[in-house]
Symmetry: C2
Subunit: 158 residues, 2 copies
C-alpha cells in the first residue's frame, strides 16, 4: 500500500515547521530543502491552512507557520484529511467502481477495518512526538539554531 | 492510502475461485467477469502460484484453482506478497528515496507500525471468511451452481 504524495509532503512540511521552532518559513524555503515543487506545496499548505494546522504570516519576515503547538497537531487528523479522496481499492471510490461483487462483498468491510487500524496508529501520535529531535532535524534541514526546548517525548507514540 | 491493483485483482481472483467451489477456471473466464486484462491477471496468477495459493490444471477442463482450502488461505499473506514492492512513502523505497531527514526521521517508525496494523487485520482473516457467501458470489459472477457447503463463518474476521 502507499500513501499519496500529498500526505508525504504535508508531513514533511509540518516536521520542517516544527523543527524551525515556530518561526515562519516561505513555501520556497521548504520546497528547496526537499527538492519539491513550490506549486505542489502551495496546494498542500492551503489544505493545511483550511483545517487550522498552519497559518500564513504576511510581511517581509512572513511565510507559513504552525497554527498551534506541535503537541496539539494529531497526525491521524492530517492523514485522514490528505487521504480522504484516495480510494483504498476501486470499490472505495465515490462512484463505487465497477467490480460486480461489490454489493455483497465481505472483503470491503475487512479492508475498511484495516484502513482504520492504520489511521488509529497515527491518531495516537502528534507532530511533537515525531519532531521531538528538532535540533537534529533543524541541522539536517539547515534551519539554523532553533529555540532550545526540553522534552522527554519519544516516538513511537502513546 | 491505496493498495496496488495487483492486490485488488489477486483478491478478486481468489474470491472467484472460492465461489466456484474448487473447480478450475481459465484466466480468461475470470478476466471477463471483472472486465480486466487477461495479460495482467496471468502475472498475478503466476505470483499466487509461486507462493502456493493457486495451482494450474492442464487439459480441456483445466485452468487455475485454489491450491488449498479457502480456510487455509490467509489474506494477510496475500497482501504482504502483493504489496512487498510497494513503498508506503518515498523513504520506504529500496533505494531509500531522497528525503534529507530520513536518517533521523521518527515518523518512519510510526508509519511502519501503522502499515503493520493494517496488515495484521488481514492476518486475522482467511479467504473462507470473506467468500463464505459463495452462492451469492457465484450468482453475481454467473458461475453456475457451486457445491452446497454449510458454514457459520462470517466476516469481519476473528
Amino acid at each position: 500500500m502507499r500513501l499519496n504524495a500529498r500526505s508525504d509532503y504535508a508531513l514533511r512540511i509540518l516536521m520542517t515547521l516544527a523543527a524551525n521552532g515556530g518561526r515562519p518559513m516561505t513555501i520556497a524555503e521548504i520546497a528547496v530543502r526537499f527538492d519539491l515543487s513550490v506549486h505542489h506545496l502551495q496546494k498542500i499548505v492551503w489544505m493545511l491552512g483550511q483545517i487550522g494546522i498552519t497559518r500564513s504570516i504576511r510581511g517581509r519576515s512572513g511565510g507559513v507557520a504552525l497554527a498551534k503547538p506541535a503537541g496539539s497537531i494529531n497526525l491521524g487528523r492530517i492523514l485522514r484529511e490528505m487521504e480522504k479522496d484516495t480510494a483504498l481499492v476501486e470499490c472505495f471510490r465515490v462512484d463505487g467502481g465497477a467490480c460486480p461483487i461489490t454489493p455483497i462483498c465481505r472483503l470491503r468491510g475487512v479492508l475498511a477495518e484495516a484502513r482504520e487500524a492504520f489511521l488509529q496508529v497515527l491518531d495516537g501520535c502528534t507532530l511533537a512526538d515525531v519532531a521531538d529531535n528538532r535540533e537534529a532535524l533543524a541541522a539536517l534541514l539547515n534551519l539554523g539554531e532553533p529555540p532550545k526546548v526540553s522534552s522527554t517525548q519519544t516516538a513511537p507514540c502513546s
